[in-house]
């Protein structure tokens, strides 16, 4: 409910200034967003219709960039990978985050110690952890090597170098990084649930499992939505992860739209194609986010 709604006229200059002040305060931020986000989006769209290669040039190129984009097998690989990665990343982070949060919510003694352990991956950049992960997943150095040293000769874990499986290693590292953050969100959600509802369910005879399945998890719906948004945007933006872990390889087996866009814009001197891919990504993001924003802002109205 607005504290101050639309005002009536006939008032002094000072009053008018006062009533305009909030908008004045918001204006710079909004202007900045307009320029730096929406202006740039427009600019990117413009660029995708030019013949830009190494640097922006403003020569009309029609839909050429889009034709080129959609004739690139790499682009299909990137999209397919995003689908695999996105689905698994979101699903696993949510599942694991929720699982840990539930465990952490059982009056755990060492919560203060465990919480930062699950959270810290979020604090580290892949510039930092990429090497460690690369080793860990490398068959000759990491897990496979260790297991074989320990006497499990047939142990095989070569996903990192297997074009068919490499994308899943990206998922593993991504889940490792983000699931702790999601855990924190769920933990906050769990802590926010009215204790009396749980008591009521206990009295109603629900087992702990039923309480979670039937009452608590449905009540966490808003957290699921928030988590989805956070994860979706991280999945779409994922770049460091792939570069640090596989560099897009083996072959181009782990190419994602973000690495595709980067490489076409900055390495392959096909800025128009890069821009076209950015436009496609933005359209994808819009398709996911706008309905969400719409429903979310709608809901609060009631």
């Amino acid at each position: 409910m607005p504290v101050i709604a639309a005002e009536r006229p006939r008032k002094s200059f000072a009053d008018r200034l006062r009533s305009g002040l909030p908008k004045l305060v918001l204006a710079p931020s909004f202007a900045v967003i307009l320029i730096f986000v929406y202006g740039f989006i427009l600019w990117t769209i413009t660029l995708s219709f030019t013949t830009s290669r190494i640097l922006p040039v403003y020569k009309w190129g029609g839909f050429d960039a889009y034709f080129r984009l959609w004739s690139q097998p790499n682009w299909y690989v990137a999209m397919q990978n995003l689908a695999i990665f996105g689905v698994l990343y979101i699903a696993l982070c949510t599942a694991i985050g929720l699982f840990i949060a539930i465990l952490m919510d059982q009056r755990i003694r060492a919560e203060g110690v465990l919480r930062p352990i699950f959270l810290y991956p979020m604090a580290l950049s892949f510039v930092v952890t990429g090497t460690a992960w690369k080793w860990f997943l490398n068959p000759g150095l990491g897990l496979e090597h260790t297991m074989r040293n320990l006497g499990w000769e047939s142990f095989t874990f070569d996903w990192l170098v297997n074009p068919k499986m490499a994308i899943y290693t990206v998922v593993i590292a991504g889940v490792w990084q983000a699931s702790g953050f999601i855990m924190a969100m769920f933990l906050a959600g769990l802590r926010g649930i009215d204790g009396e509802i749980i008591k009521a369910a206990q009295i109603d005879g629900a087992s702990t499992v039923s309480i979670y399945r039937r009452i608590i998890i449905p009540l966490l719906r808003p957290v699921f939505l928030s988590a989805f948004i956070v994860l979706a945007h991280m999945a779409i933006k994922s770049y460091d992860l792939v570069i640090a872990l596989t560099g897009g390889g083996p072959g181009n087996a782990t190419e994602l739209p973000s690495t595709f866009m980067y490489s076409y814009t900055f390495n392959r001197n096909q800025m128009n194609v890069g821009s076209a891919s950015a436009v496609m990504m933005l359209m994808g993001i819009t398709a996911i986010i706008v309905p969400y924003l719409y429903s979310e802002l709608r809901e609060k109205k009631q």
């Binding site: 290669r53 190494i54 640097l55 922006p56 080129r68 004739s71 690139q72 097998p73 790499n74 690369k134 490398n138 068959p139 000759g140 150095l141 070569d158 990192l160 170098v161 074009p163 490499a166 570069i243 596989t246 560099g247 390889g249 083996p250 072959g251 181009n252 087996a253 980067y262 490489s263 900055f266 390495n267 392959r268 001197n269 096909q270």
Partner: protein
């Protein structure tokens, strides 16, 4: 004070030491050095930073660049003009014409070449080679035979790092070996669709598939110097790699001829695939122009060329430098270079941007690397290759 800002991706200890020579030379002339190192992805991060700076209207003074990128940037009208200096120092005479094509744009000098690398080398562990009979291969079939022997020795026959540019480096050597210089020109430099999908190319891809069987399972994503290390340590027998890998051997205190053997990739004797680091000078206005010229001059200074190239493993960009200070491999490299230059078999390397512009280069590398990783069959690769080239034009 005068200042040059230099964007480069030479960040390892040895490279930094080599560049320090240049830095100190310039300081003696009163030019301070503002370092802008951007490592990673063989200069790909550096290219991003460069775009940002140029777009902002604030380019660095000098930028480490390769091949067609020099042309692409010059085309944007951001290059400085080095003609006066080049004329004064007689660059036209001492720098191989094949390289000049890239250092000049539209007839004007825009870049100062630092070195010339050659990519069609094969590096062999001497001990392993001796065990396998000691005879160096001279064509690709002999190479396969040798690799089989390495395999029998229980070492990794061929050390390779599975990233696109390394796959490309291997591929271009195989192209040259299988098809010879003329085929290389047709297929790689001219990107002729028929050559790219013909029977010779089919043999190239078949040979690539065969070579793939000599890799160790961890090759994917491995950096080249780690592969070199495998050969140095005797865990692997051979590596196809540019002459920069010699730097690793030397740093490991190994001697050419004694501990390791450098040969042209079997079947490519007499030809040289080159790749040269150049400092392209950007138009930074009057204020720094003087310093810029001093830097360009310092780069072409023979003493620097010797000092730098000894560390880097490459050969000087100038052909008038005596080979006395260099090791045997470098001497061979310098000899090969001048021969090839005169015979017309000095050709640009695809993997390093001296054969095709970035778009086409990357498109070809896509196919090569996918094929090598088993994502494409040979037939599919033969079909894809001309298509990819056409789509990237």
């Amino acid at each position: 004070a005068e200042e040059v800002e230099v964007l480069h991706w030479w960040t390892s200890g040895g490279e930094a030491a080599a560049l320090n020579v240049l830095k100190e030379n310039l300081q003696k002339e009163g030019v301070s050095w503002k370092d802008m190192p951007v490592a990673g992805g063989a200069g790909s991060a550096a290219m991003t930073a460069l775009r940002a700076r140029v777009t902002a209207g604030d380019p660095p003074t000098a930028v480490q660049l390769l091949g067609f990128d020099l042309r692409d940037w010059s085309q944007m009208g951001v290059a400085a003009n080095l003609d006066e200096l080049a004329a004064k120092e007689g660059w036209d005479k001492v720098i191989p014409p094949a390289l000049q094509e890239f250092s000049k744009y539209d007839g004007h000098w825009v870049a100062a070449p630092v070195n010339i690398h050659s990519t069609n080398w094969l590096w062999l562990n001497k001990a392993a080679l001796d065990k396998a009979g000691g005879k160096v291969p001279t064509n690709i079939d002999e190479l396969f035979a040798l690799l089989d022997k390495f395999k029998a020795e229980g070492i990794v026959p061929l050390a390779h790092g599975g990233v696109p540019w390394q796959d490309g480096t291997l591929w271009e050597a195989v192209v040259l070996s299988v098809g010879g210089p003329d085929f290389y020109k047709k297929a790689v430099l001219e990107a002729d669709p028929a050559a790219l999908s013909g029977d010779t190319m089919k043999k190239v891809f078949d040979d690539m598939s065969k070579l793939r069987t000599y890799f160790d399972p961890n090759f994917s994503g491995r950096e080249w110097n780690l592969s070199t290390a495998l050969v140095i340590e005797g865990k692997a027998g051979a590596q196809e790699m540019g002459d920069w890998s010699k730097g690793e051997w030397l740093r490991a205190k190994k001697e050419p001829g004694k501990d390791f053997v450098c040969i042209r990739f079997p079947g490519t004797q007499g030809s040289v695939l080159f790749n040269a680091d150049q400092f392209m000078m950007f138009d930074v206005g009057k204020k720094s122009a003087d310093a810029q010229m001093k830097m360009a001059s310092a780069v072409e200074n023979p003493a620097f060329q010797i000092a730098f190239n000894k560390v880097k493993g490459s050969v000087p960009a100038r052909t008038d430098i005596p080979d006395t200070d260099f090791d045997d491999c470098a001497k061979k490299g310098m000899k090969d270079l001048s021969e090839a230059s005169s015979k017309g078999t000095l050709m640009g390397s695809l993997a390093h941007g001296y054969a095709q512009p970035a778009a086409i280069k990357e498109a070809m590398l896509d196919v090569i690397t996918q094929h090598l990783n088993g994502q494409l069959t040979t037939d599919a690769a033969l079909k894809r290759l001309p298509e990819a080239v056409a789509a990237a034009k």
